[in-house]
Subunit: 787 residues, 2 copies
Amino acid sequence: MGEREEVQNNNDIEIGVERRGPSSSSSSRSASPESRRITSSSLKEPLLLPHDAKRTNQTSQLAIIGANVCPIESLDYEIIENDLFKQDWRSRTKNKILQYVFFKWTLVLIIGLGTGFVAFFNNLAVENIAGFKLLFTNSLMLKDKYFQAFAAYAGCNMVLAIAAAGLCAYISPAAAGSGIPEVKAYLNGIDAHSILAPSTLFVKIFGSIFGVAAGFVVGKEGPMVHTGACIASLLGQGGSRKYGLTWKWLRYFKNDLDRRDLITCGAAAGVAAAFRAPVGGVLFALEEIASWWRSALLWRTFFTTAVVAVVLRTFIVFCRGGQCGLFGEGGLIMFDVNSVNPTYRIADLLAVIVLGMIGGIFGSLYNYLVDKVLRAYSIINERGPVFKILLAIIISVLTSCCSYGLPWLSKCIPCPASLGDQCPTVGRYGNFKRFQCPPNHYNDLASLFMTTNDDAIRNLFSSGFDKEFQLSTLIVFFAAIYCLGIITYGIAVPSGLFIPVILAGASYGRLVGTLLGSLSDLDVGFFALLGAASFLGGTMRMTVSLCVILLELTNSLLMLPLVMLVLLISKTVADCFNKGVYDQIVEMKGFPFLEAHAEPYMRNLTASDVVSGPLVTFSGVEKVANILYALKSTKHNGFPVIDEPPFSDAPQLCGLVLRSHLLVLLKGKKFTKQRKAIGSNMLRTFNAQDFDKAGSGKGVKLEDLDIKEEELEMYVDLHPIVNTSPYAVVETMSLAKAAVLFRQLGLRHMLVTPKMPGRPPVVGILTRHDFMSEHVLGLYPQFQPKK
Amino acid sequence: MGEREEVQNNNDIEIGVERRGPSSSSSSRSASPESRRITSSSLKEPLLLPHDAKRTNQTSQLAIIGANVCPIESLDYEIIENDLFKQDWRSRTKNKILQYVFFKWTLVLIIGLGTGFVAFFNNLAVENIAGFKLLFTNSLMLKDKYFQAFAAYAGCNMVLAIAAAGLCAYISPAAAGSGIPEVKAYLNGIDAHSILAPSTLFVKIFGSIFGVAAGFVVGKEGPMVHTGACIASLLGQGGSRKYGLTWKWLRYFKNDLDRRDLITCGAAAGVAAAFRAPVGGVLFALEEIASWWRSALLWRTFFTTAVVAVVLRTFIVFCRGGQCGLFGEGGLIMFDVNSVNPTYRIADLLAVIVLGMIGGIFGSLYNYLVDKVLRAYSIINERGPVFKILLAIIISVLTSCCSYGLPWLSKCIPCPASLGDQCPTVGRYGNFKRFQCPPNHYNDLASLFMTTNDDAIRNLFSSGFDKEFQLSTLIVFFAAIYCLGIITYGIAVPSGLFIPVILAGASYGRLVGTLLGSLSDLDVGFFALLGAASFLGGTMRMTVSLCVILLELTNSLLMLPLVMLVLLISKTVADCFNKGVYDQIVEMKGFPFLEAHAEPYMRNLTASDVVSGPLVTFSGVEKVANILYALKSTKHNGFPVIDEPPFSDAPQLCGLVLRSHLLVLLKGKKFTKQRKAIGSNMLRTFNAQDFDKAGSGKGVKLEDLDIKEEELEMYVDLHPIVNTSPYAVVETMSLAKAAVLFRQLGLRHMLVTPKMPGRPPVVGILTRHDFMSEHVLGLYPQFQPKK
């Protein structure tokens, strides 16, 4: 509860949604917006009505689901054209612009280098920790000390699990989970402060290492994306003052637009590093993560991922010398299925269609169950860090029991004679684990369970031995991984979804391939790949990027048409049931995500229908007390400024002023006793950099202001910081059309102007929240889709 | 000259640019826009001032360069929210929406099937025609009839060249050239009517076959993209009435937005078909061709290219049976460089950097020369079809002389003993052409020249024989192809740029590889690939899509990092000198292309600075004569409608009405004697489909109207067709910010509203033309970049 209270005290930050003010459906429909318009000069009573408190509670509730309580702020991609900006623009020399371009490329380079290095470090650590654990367990088993082996195995797992969950629970709760939904939300314009913080970066790196090494059915791919984004954010915000990492020249990127570009690059670098798929990384960022894209970004992300590829290659070549401990061929997944036969028959096509449909059905079911489990877990996780750790321990023990216990159910299989020394293996690698079997026999289920997830995938994709795995083995493995994957996502450990999904998909794919037997010329390893593709398509609902990632992973282009087909089918089937898993998590976490397209019912509403008051406006030259009062009593982040006589002949819209700019202005204390415009004077005092957007959670806060009693009655000229050309729509514009404008331009505030002349020049402000389905359907339940 | 006059008579179509009216720099800056505002009711004199005529001439001049005189119209991606649309929207049932989705997917499927089929047909025809030509020449050479062989070779080439140029010159001049710039312009919102017409499709298919078979240094890739787009356009416009191809259910796609989606799919299908690169096709459409992109489109284009891949595969399997004449392994380029050694040393990296820089320099020089040659040719081509054909004949003879003559300069090389029967070859295939050589010798230059372009590329990429080509051979071949490529593009033949660029790049790449010799472990064939990548990067300036296309072409993923590196370097180097070749052609053809980003100097101007009058507005209920007069005397496509008393208390902006809608309304003749609003009555007479956007160049024309004398004095209620919520900006908004809105939303008209209340509600309209650099810098020469 401590966290929730902290949020409520934090006055200058919105919670969950940007919109505030009373907006119960009855009031906003009964009264036209401007009838409730209150100008600041007439303010006597606090603006926060009971409704407002209720709303705040509601939304913080939303934010809590998913175990991430963090203040959420909208990002603003609009260029704030105020006088200071214009002055600054005119002073920009060619040199400065070149510097800017140079620094941006340098940053992108550093992001690539950093992400590549972290990815390598992650793999190195995981391979060594997990490798040691498995070798130790194996050595005990060789001595027939089966119980001790289990104790050692489960014990190691538990310690690692506690370490991972402890980091997440105590240092950075935001680091739990995949991170892709959060990065996706950020790139949609939703800044949940702790999401990209340095502490999150730290926990994500080490939590992911411990979590994966602990044998959980989780991947390091999602966390890698999050890590890349965190690195980019750290650099884009000019480092972290708290941790003593600052660079002066980074001030060039103090705006949300540049940061968005950098974080997109970071996310792409993360995917590229996780899968060693540079092209796939770019496409993943484009298809799934980014909400806005432009051609220049394509080039930049491509450069970043190329850097990542080079870094990883360098390290791998370095490790070939044997200096990296247990990090051998196993690190950095790459599954060669080169040996497949590139001809296929009708039976293969039918199998592909069946696989696609299975993938679609299992995928949507998976999403449904993940959602349910997440909601259940969030209740447990909310109770505090200890409960988070306990939950992680329970899942860890369960996973250990499955991994160690289930292989005992499997029959020992005699080794194929042709393999010689390769079967059975007792070390870390190889497809033929001896486990409890007599000499010259192997346990096929242990080959999948008692290894790292990466090696298990490699075993499933392996070609050449069609009968390597028994049907029962594949069924048991699929069922176990499917269930473990569902119950593992949601515990307080950085956990990617890719690996569980690939594992489960590959196992049923190989099952189908084995069943087809001689009906098909294709290798069973290739069916495992198709199965993985189908399940990925069914859960994540991507097409091109998954296709490219799988191609890069498996180094095989010959089967491209079949992979495309299976992805298209599984996505189509799964889309009939529910959303993609990342979209679902974004929704569940209460992020006000702006969809690319407006809902159909929004065509039946106008912009003014959803505007909710009261509107707080300022005069061009406003009394300090009024501003302070408005800042304290509302959570608004933008205030329309209206020039009135004597500054203009009639009331006229001067523009929009931002809360953050007002705070800087008030801190500068350029007040006057008389009510007069002193704009040009102020342009000399301030410069545009003072008003640069600070990093998430930084910047001047209301508490930082120290306004004296006598200053309250003085005036301050807002003109220099007023954005004189905010984007505006007429009140009769349909909500759908307004949403297109809002979404395409990535706005934070959009003014609504009256249709008829002679009325006040602004009738309301639309923010992100006003376009959310929950808000609109709350006001107009008649548009609720019928079930 | 006939064509130019036709354009001038064509009153309801804009030429070259959308904006008209006097806009000489002095007048528009001295008088504020609204001082020249003329409402239609006050119109007595024609609006076309001398300035206007001048402007028209200027712009048609622009359009003529590039030998494409065609009327240009802007596309409009805004949803026109008028009463009819709203009525229609409310009546939309779920069934209708499902139907719409189903039809859209069906269309996309048909586009894929059609493009795949055309691509196959194209390859089949080229392989057979060119194969027959080469076999015949060879058979004469075997009999030592060298002169007759040349005559036969050059004669075949000339006949084919005349056929290709004749089709282009007489049937569809728009089919000449690559077509990619035109498709790119269309997807940017520029509709040059003949560009996607059925006749263009026909000429593009057959002209490309003849042109490629004629031995020109041209590819079929660009034309393939254009073909795909034409097929999509034909389907998206509901077929062609002229050619009796119409489908009733296609009326669902009568808007620019849906057509844009379809044509993007068509273009992607074209690339996919040309290179057999389904993923590359999607990325090419995304990176180079499309101006707007969204996630749903990614999926749809991916589906189309998957269909193309399946169709092509089916045909190729069918042809393996030998039913396709000379179409054997040669058709549909696909170059396997699988055998390369995937380890590289420092020397290789240096070579890659050098290759990238060479590619950048040669590439930008290539673009510069292509531009010069195109401008020179356009003067010749303008003189008429006969001159076009003559030019093609001259280039054809020159090409034949080079192809047949240059190999005589090369020494005969003894065949490597290891090859046995494979050397020398006399048929179509093989790397070791005998040409004039004695038995057991081959002519390496003839192996490149006396073959199809596809086979020449395959020979350059071939691995295994490092010394196959002499250095002098590669130098001569590079020089010849580089020059021929430059002088060939621009003749009246469908001509892609990919193949010449790949040929030239591969030859200098192989040269570098041969020079490196034992310093490198890499195969010379792989250096040829890197060279091709560098030259492609240097001319076309793409990164991701070229990378993927090259990977798919060569079926090799192992060298991905090197290919990425070379592309990044060559693009960076070339970008220092000039634009990409397609952008350059778009600019040269005078298309008003909207760049993704506003120019920096636009920040110093406001929206009102570039608005040029006179503004023609209508009243909500307007006299027929006034409307007719405005339609006749201006070329405006959108007119603001202003409600005045008695329809409102004060003058108030009602919205924007489109020329095309006015024409339909006038044709419907729902006029009244009195000046009164009869909106609801009209809603019953018309339905939204009547106002659907017709295909390019179709729809009601001014000449189609038959308004009687007495009807001129009657009134017509415009309210039902007025878009009541056009996007608008305030006049003080910077031009850059307005440009972002205009570009992001794909608008055709944007209203400019006054800052101060009490003035007329609209001060001007911004159209595409107002954001063009030429226009803005014409008004404000002080912002001209210093040289």
